[in-house]
Amino acid sequence: MAVAKEDIAGAHSGVAPVTHAHEYGSIGRWLVAPALIFAIVVTQVPFVYTLYYSTFRYNLLRPERRKFVGLENYRRILTDDVVFRDALVNTFLFTFAAVIISLLLGLFYAELVNHRFPGRGIVRTMLITPFLVMPVAGALGWKNMMMDPDFGVINWLIRAVQPGSGSWNPVWLAHYPRQSIVIMLVWRWAPFMMLILLAGMQSIDEEVREAARVDGASPVQEFIGITLPHLYRFMQLGALLGTVYIVQEVDQIFMTTQGGPGTLTTNLPYYVYETAIRGSQVGRGAAIGVVVVILTIIAMTVLLRLLDRMLRSSYAGG
């Protein structure tokens, strides 16, 4: 399966409005050519290879059985691959839940540190830290230090506050595996949302707030009437970037549940890893990858269109 890495800068240059390109004329076009060619070589050539491999039955460990099978891999994935369907549902659930909760929590964090108070710098740094911790290390911490039924802080707290013998000792990663993964994702991505929303809050003109206050607005009215409308665009950006990144999260699953129990925590990236890398089934893995890309294009187009509409209506409203 093709592997391509693209810097985040690619997204910004792509999402940013391309307004004045014509003013630079044809020389400008030639100047971008090296970057464009590089981008094509790095991202599209592997993709073409992926398309090619997806038409083969090809297990790396059994090269003698390699055979062209046409669209058979796709037929299998779309018709009788139960794990794929589960993975699709899980990916949607994880992404949707994690983005929404991260946004709300991020909004709360941002509102919190937007006000001046002693030690604000330290609090802000501490809130951002989860995003800076290596995902693998963070996941290990969650598994062994937080969610472990014997040694974990969460269960220790539950036992401590529970009246009586304390018989409720939930095993998070076994009994609530999906919720646990979402918790880990939110822990990691809420700070990211906070950063974006905080930037938005700090760009609000203080005079506007002051005017509202002079007019007798309460802090809640100020938040709903001024801060929130101003933040819409930032929230949209957060939701978009969050979706793009959370869809591909795999570290937490790899480090904690290995996709189990059952298929409850197998998401699409983990399923591709399981098939192509662990199972060495290059053809099947490539086909899954292609289907994922197509589904992502559809989902992203819908999402972008929705955001666009929201953006326009919020302009109209403001």
Partner: protein
């Protein structure tokens, strides 16, 4: 519209790297050789050698001793890549099967050795090792040699350390409960003990068994229980036998045992987690690899060392354990064959065992491979509570005979064909769902039986 298209493209580009290199790796380069007074300096062999190893304690010890290798071979530049097991397995498998040639020497196990040999991906190491009288090839346990040999009978990976499986238990807890562990317990005995010693309210569990999905994690003890109960994964025609009476009984037994009397975190517990629970005094018994004995007998590493008892792997219809060795194979594409062979010979020699014993102590020695280790007075003294037992367990294993009935594959705790990884992972995930209490074992057994049959069809066995 163009803007949107561009945005979609950009988003796509971001999504491409789905296969994240899972982090936490540590590339380690051995220190440059300092000119020492070693008598047997060999300057005739040179070249740069890339070695990929599993980050088990025995390999970490080797990493520490790499300067000693450099003293003998100052002209070889040794690069050691030491990574956690799940990760290094993926990288080694990909490197070997695509013949990418990133590594010269890799650690592989019995699961891979014969197959890599058949594909021509690894070199015969047995012939040159046999030719060296100092290496003492005959000293290596025959079961290890046989399980690491190709179909042509030649050795394709030199065993570094080996293991079978056994029961560890807490003598103090057994005594307090008035129980005695027989030398050769049955699985029914184990269940009875687990039931009596399971006191979850006071944070003490009857037994630790691996429940973490993965053919090499939960798959290993599970398969040894299936075999012990007289079951098997497949019959001679590759028809799944997981739902047969005996296999189903074994699977139900295993999942029930963990669910009822095992550690609560079973579905996320593998070797390391169980080792930790045992050392922390949380479990009364633990069924796992014999290589853990060396560590559990060490009071510095295990506070329960004095109270740790060792017993034979449990039997039911037959005794069934596992057999595994981490072994060094040389990739066929290597450009530094002499240097690679020099390294493999050094790391798997008797002299290396003595070197580890002298420098790091007997607890760090790679055991389970050479008879001479078990004959050494120093090791006998260190391992007086377990060494003889481990020796007899390893010698009793026959990698060609796993089950009561005939099977079309090799391997004791796995089905010895390369595609088994996929099936083993799927099946153990499903059973983790049973252990978690989300699914009944009868439903799961039906499901995994179907999985096994469709896997066999997909891969051309049925």
């Amino acid at each position: 519209m163009r803007r949107k298209a561009l945005a979609v493209l950009a988003v796509l580009a971001l999504l491409m790297p789905m296969f994240l290199a899972i982090g936490g790796m540590s590339a380690v380069r051995a220190q440059d050789a300092s000119p020492g007074a070693s008598p047997a300096v060999d300057t005739s062999i040179s070249g740069e050698l890339n070695v990929a190893m599993v980050a088990n304690p025995q390999m970490v010890a080797l990493q520490k001793l790499a300067p000693e290798f450099q003293k003998i071979y100052p002209n070889i530049k040794l690069n050691l890549l030491v990574l956690p097991e799940n990760e290094v397995r993926d990288r080694i498998r990909t490197d070997v099967s695509t013949q990418a040639g990133q590594f010269d020497v890799v650690t592989i196990g019995m699961f891979e050795a014969a197959d890599y040999a058949k594909q021509g991906w690894s070199l015969d190491v047995g012939t040159p090792l046999q030719a060296d009288p100092n290496y003492d090839y005959q000293d290596i346990f025959p079961a290890m040699v046989s399980a690491l040999s190709g179909d042509d009978g030649k050795l394709y990976a030199a065993p570094f350390y080996g293991e079978s499986s056994m029961v560890f238990y807490r003598k103090d807890l057994f005594q307090a409960a008035g129980l005695t562990m027989p030398d050769k317990p049955t699985w029914d005995d184990i269940q009875g003990f687990a039931q009596k010693l399971h006191k979850p309210d006071s944070g003490q569990y009857g037994i630790c068994l691996r429940g973490l999905p993965g053919w090499g994690e939960q798959g290993a003890p599970l398969t040894s229980v299936i075999n012990a109960f007289g079951g098997r994964w497949f019959d001679e025609n590759w028809k799944s036998q997981l739902a047969s009476d005996k296999s189903a009984k074994a699977i139900k037994f295993y999942t029930d045992l963990v669910k009822n009397y095992g550690e609560p975190s079973a579905t996320t517990s593998g070797f390391t987690e169980c080792e930790n629970l045992f050392i922390q005094g949380k479990v009364a018994m633990w069924y796992d690899a014999t290589s853990a004995a060396d560590l559990l007998a060490d009071p510095k590493q295990n506070p329960q060392a004095a109270n740790t008892g060792f017993a034979y792997q449990p039997t039911e219809e037959i005794g069934s354990g596992w057999l595994w060795a981490w072994a060094f194979a040389i990739e066929a594409k290597t450009k530094h064959q002499d240097a690679a062979l020099a390294f493999v010979k050094w790391a798997t020699s008797k002299d290396y065992v003595n070197l580890v014993a002298n420098q790091l102590g007997w607890g760090s020695v790679p055991s389970g491979v050479r008879a001479s280790t078990y004959a050494d007075a120093g090791y006998k003294e260190y391992g007086k509570s377990f060494a003889d037992l481990v020796l007899s367990i390893i010698q009793a294993q026959d990698p060609t005979k796993c089950c009561v009935d005939a099977v079309p594959y090799k391997g004791l705790q796995f089905v010895g064909v390369p595609e088994f990884v996929t099936l083993g992972d799927q099946v153990t995930k499903e059973l983790a769902n049973v252990i978690a209490g989300n699914e009944s074992s009868d439903d799961a057994i039906k499901k995994i039986d179907d999985m096994a049959n469709s896997w066999a069809k997909d891969n051309g066995y049925q």
